[in-house]
Subunit: 267 residues, 4 copies
């Protein structure tokens, strides 16, 4: 369920203008987290630390954005955490960039590639605002020419035609690294699966995540009336090294029944 | 979709016994990640780095375990990342403990409380195996007497009756911190919602996550036949500080229509 | 996906006023079904026979209405078809009444009970409009005093507190008949389950139906962005006759593990 | 949730052999519906009228079968009820045939086409067993040569390659009639959408239905652990007659934004 958030950098003398009235930053400075305050119209607000999820929601929406439900699963499934080197393309408005920079910590690094200069500028500003510029390298260019880095732990390819860059993706990833992508249509998924097979990626998974909120009324508990039905299909894979004479596309197809056997099991 | 994993610590001279044949560790040592190897029966295996998701799946199943789909969302939604101090109870077999320890990194810390000595011993062993013992404090005891720590950034309460410990939860959390819980039945959710209101928690969310896998066949793309229908309901909340004369339970009820208005929006 | 419908009774000289222009009924009379016509503004329309689903969508929305996804499942699951005698309460605006009257045909009958005279008048008008008045008996009254009929094949109880009328429901149903209800909150479901057990109903099922539409673009096939997340929980049960000394509530509880064993199987 | 059913024709002197013991038909004859009886091993059974859903579940599974959740929605969405003439291909084991024959009643008719003689024989037997042979015409043949009937109210095409028979479907349907199909893979759906557009079908809908059961325990109410994740995608469409100069494929594409606008609305 949504609660309206305003993300602020507190400055003496500044004011926050909202649709429910004005709040002076001076009234907030020094208050404990969680405190209730009131706008000049008497409407209540709470002073809270932002979670990663809140920060993501606050991204200016110039491009499609990943939702917290997908981002959390991406982090866990691709082993992304402190100390990792993660590659991303395209940067877009930097919403995933921020999540990655947050997760890899001071000891990790994010390289993010974008071909539109204006988008990159926006993403840079968003990262600076969070004070995480040291963790992120912004590259401008066409990933058709390669990502310009090698041996990354994980690569998330958030572009409309990832299937055109799987050779480059393989070149950038460390052996056994983690590949991920998110695509809105089934037609794109089919194309990506073909490209991943062709470039000898293995452990290919396709899934989607549905998040359903409830009205938090203890005596009238029930789901909300409507929900997001689709953000995209998640595709995960890993570059593997087949032994000589193995791993042709025919072999991949041959192994399908084995996978199918366990299909439907999440754990 | 499931791929069968074996998580190993490589030791010269050791062997891995599987249902598809035996593999000598010596044959693996020195191989690049992603390499294909064969058991003595000729069955193919791949040598891969484990992701957090893989580590979680490998937990011995003595207790109910959280799934990667929930864990990822918990991390993102509760702002859990490098440098945070996170509290958890009960420890159980330590599957969430491991995810938390991974996410907070070297600069963060996890305190986990359990009342069963045998469970704690198991969880300790699981954390040691990952080399993350420095990041975790194991406490043995009854959380009815409090958690024994204060000012934590986030608390995940993974017990059957979290509603009995909300006062203690509030005492342990820093103001505005993040509270989370996972419960299998709607009846427990109702009770927890009442307890959270009573102890003046705000920003209460209830949700559930459905994960659906697809058969990754590009020319016959379709969901798997069956899926996990339920692991549990996720409940999130934050301890807020109402201004004097506000925040009684009556007030909470009064604010419900406002929430309902935006119900169903995820973003 | 929604297509805007207008349900008409064609009359010489009449006009249909829409937000996309005016159409003369005279231009429609004599046209084959499926024909494309144009409003005075040049906007295209199609002349089509209504399906049951269309008729239901056209009900004036004075009350909560059942969706086609639930109605279809109710008909199949409760054995409702030609020749059956079906009982319903409350009548509401008559949307389910119409579906039932359609399904039981000329050889069947529907009895529907409502306590609000204005609602009943509205529902009557809606049934008359479809020319199915002969199939429906409208009763006005308080179902606390019983339904006024006996030996019905199936009873659908579409009221907010069905758990208060389960004794009356049992008295109205033929032995082994079909009971159904739809409830929005989990709290109501729990109460109904208790009442059904108390009155020795067996074969109790609780379920919910999620319907997800796709954007019908062959080269960009994907689910719609948003969907209905909840209309209600469906509850089905059948009045059974326990042998002497069996079927106490304790026994019911004792049989639970048996059910649980097969839980999750739809077929 | 599943309850184990045995569908019987009672005959004096016969016995029912089950995994939980033997029951003599003579012990059942004359009992009221709903009665509890016991096998020779003392296991309890109940004597109940079958619902349509029960009859469908009892179909011998030689072929993929439609589930009650899909069948109910098909009936409501395609306007199938008493008095209609419905066409189906292929017949398969006759599970949908039975649902259709039940729904159209004595005043309606079902024509079902199959090319495999053995399947047709099985389906015939299943219909005879229900005493509904008068309502069904079984045709043997290749639908590539047409369906052999015209002017049907509704046609359900339950074959693997429905896109190859859309011209024939159009010839069989009455103008403005109802077309439906169920397909397991997204690739098949894309092909069918193209064929429907090519043959000037309009009002094309694609959807899928998820049915989630709950454990019916009032104090521990929760979904079952696992569920069916996929039976197939439902596709509905109607043959329309475009005015001269309209309805080319380009026009169809042009109208897409309009549809998309309302995408996600069920009602």
């Amino acid at each position: 369920m949504t609660h309206k958030h305003f993300i602020l950098e507190l400055k003496a003398g500044a004011t926050l203008q909202t649709h429910r009235g004005v709040i002076a930053h001076d009234d907030l400075i020094g208050l404990p987290w969680g405190s209730q305050v009131f706008s000049h119209l008497g409407n209540p607000f709470f002073l809270l630390q932002p979670a990663l999820g809140d920060l993501l929601k606050n991204t200016p929406r110039n491009t499609q954005i990943l939702y917290p439900k997908e981002i959390g699963f991406i982090l866990v499934n691709m082993g992304i955490g402190p100390g990792q080197h993660v590659l991303e393309a395209g940067t877009g408005s930097g919403s995933l960039t921020r999540a990655l920079a947050f997760a890899v910590g001071d000891s990790g690094h994010v390289t993010t590639v974008e071909w539109r200069e204006d988008m990159q500028a926006l993403a840079k500003k968003n990262i600076e605002r969070l004070g995480m510029s040291d963790r992120v390298t912004f590259r401008l260019g066409d990933i058709g020419n390669g990502f310009g880095v090698e041996n990354v732990d994980a690569l998330f390819l958030d572009v409309a035609n990832p299937y055109d860059y799987i050779g480059q993706a393989r070149a950038a990833l460390k052996p056994g690294g983690f590949f991920g992508s998110l695509l809105p249509t089934v037609n794109q998924v089919s194309k990506l699966l073909n490209a991943l097979r062709h470039h000898q990626f293995g452990f290919i998974d396709v899934c989607e995540i549905l998040l359903r909120y409830y009205k938090a009324e203890p005596e009238r508990l029930r789901p909300t009336d409507r929900m997001v039905a689709h953000t995209g299909y998640l595709i995960f894979a890993r570059p593997v090294i087949y032994a000589e004479g193995y791993g042709t596309e025919a072999d991949s197809a041959a192994s399908a029944p084995d996978d199918a056997e366990e299909a439907g099991d999440e754990d």
